[in-house]
Symmetry: C2
Amino acid sequence: MESLRSGYLFPEISKRELEHTRKHPHAKLIRLGVGDTTQPIPDIITSAMAKQVYALSTVQGYRGYGAEQGNLELRMAIAERFYKGMGVKGDEVFVSDGAQCDISRLQMLLGSNVTVAVQDPSFPAYVDSSVIVGQSGKLNEETGKYSKIVYMNCEPENNFFPDLSRTPRTDIIFFCSPNNPTGSAASRQQLKQLVDFAKANGSIIIYDSAYSAYISDNSPRSIFEIPGANEVAIEVSSFSKFAGFTGVRLGWTVVPEELRYSNGHPVMKDFDRIVCTCFNGASNIAQAGGLACLSPDGFQAVSCVVNHYKENAKILAETFDSIGLKVYGGKNSPYVWVHFPGSSSLNVFNEILERTHIVTIPGKGFGPAGEEYIRLSAFGHRECILEAASRLQNFYK
Amino acid sequence: MESLRSGYLFPEISKRELEHTRKHPHAKLIRLGVGDTTQPIPDIITSAMAKQVYALSTVQGYRGYGAEQGNLELRMAIAERFYKGMGVKGDEVFVSDGAQCDISRLQMLLGSNVTVAVQDPSFPAYVDSSVIVGQSGKLNEETGKYSKIVYMNCEPENNFFPDLSRTPRTDIIFFCSPNNPTGSAASRQQLKQLVDFAKANGSIIIYDSAYSAYISDNSPRSIFEIPGANEVAIEVSSFSKFAGFTGVRLGWTVVPEELRYSNGHPVMKDFDRIVCTCFNGASNIAQAGGLACLSPDGFQAVSCVVNHYKENAKILAETFDSIGLKVYGGKNSPYVWVHFPGSSSLNVFNEILERTHIVTIPGKGFGPAGEEYIRLSAFGHRECILEAASRLQNFYK
């Protein structure tokens, strides 16, 4: 824990945001920092949750503990909706209260004696949870890297996909696609390389597909689209950004039966044991909502909300493009990743906050390779996004 | 994980239950094994949850991520309702998705390099999570004990409170009161001893008060009723058995500001970091329900349900008493703990299942000291409890 206490950027960002609000109490702050959903959940889904809630007040409808792994109907619906034709079975799907929570349960499963690789930049929970369970080694304050973690550089030069021929072998590879923060989705060819690499090295890929609903091109939406991935990969995913369930809390993890330790023992059995010991199942109300999201009408309704955020992302990306800055992401992701060559990301963050009253995230918060970038979230009401675009245009013109 | 794979009783119990159902397809099985709530949640609470659900479909009412630590209003209400006059502040209350989940998050915080003591018998999650994080050492198949865990014997001879003068020092002491499975609540005098013991040894008590709503006498309902406990104790608790939220998922943990590591660093700060990294807050719907439970009318309504289960426990305890067996618990707890001197708990479990079609739990599942006992849960509809009582009377007459 001590190792984690230093060098944490996010409280620093909150502090600066707070100071800014005090200094400019009348400015209308636009928050495009944390990727937090803003649009109402479609009625068809909240109606299903309300029905479940009211049932809990009846003798016939009351339910206590559900299965720790989730309701079988929901597990089957997830397998059918997201993994059709990929051979994923309902009992390989473990319903959770969110991807971040399952990442830490996976870390409990793995323990301290494994080596870990992460994309650089990436969602901080992979590294932070590695530090907590004792996998990381010490932080080098100068490089911003932990000694035992392998950082796989993802930059425009390599098309945001690591050079695997120069990546050392690790037991675990965390891989997020579409990536948070860069917004880049790995292609089929790239994921095939990744699966081959893991297979050759006896590594396990922990694949985070929390943003797969944002993919617009033909990039795979799941690692299990790649043949053979079920022998080397676990997939963590979420209803948060797909259905606006950030506050409702629902996600899932797929652990394929074919994934084995080197001694032949199925990883799935141990994960099942972790889930039963460290978790008691997702809220049955959230699960009822999840099931409604996967019905044909529910799925269409949440897809409309996703399209709203995608349009927002396009507006933000076009804004920076028109300013003449290099902008990545946005197309397959609700995040845009803007390059400020030669600048410190914290300075850019400060400047944008100070001059436009827009909160972003300095890229450094996602790893050393994010130093010259800032991330903007496209989650927001349309008028806020348009107002943000206009302020940025004015500031940079 | 390998250490955990062997010696797990609960799957064995499920297997036997399933076999029994196959063998006797027409018998009406009564499940008094797992402590799972059965009574509907009062309308006042589900109405509040439904209101929150519907608000999520409106622009004004939609909320995304809440604070990882929980809504401040709920944190304050918990402090006010359960810790009035004990000096617990709202920001020392961390809202969770249940006690079991927070126990494993506490284990992540503690890591593998701590020594641990548990009551024997006790709720298996303490030992199992210790095994998972690597604190336990190896299992001795003969004694049923892990080499590095200190088992604090709790039997009728010591009034279910460990002889602390003979208990070795450990970094952590898990202590559940009212205890699951024995149903015994520690007295004020006993808890004072425990706090003094922890203080003298520089230990941290992780106090599980998940069943405190069932206390009928003047036993403390919280460890923080003991002066000075805020320097040595963390309290884990839950809405599951207090409000029938086993499927809704809501709990809390109190980490007092005054609790420090030997180097002076507040434990609370590290737990906050764990919660922010490994958890994303409890469902906002469940939290709205929790808040409703703590209103005067809500509290009265859930107390009626608790009284229903307490009356069930009394019926079960009286049944065994009239049979002439020694029965413990029931008074301050929804569990009764029945002694079968000289018998194996698995044999008693099998016999009761075979002859009365009632599922119980063999005491051995809670630790070696449970070997001559079985636990019965008083959660059930009244007619099931009465039917169970009648079958047991007939069988043992």
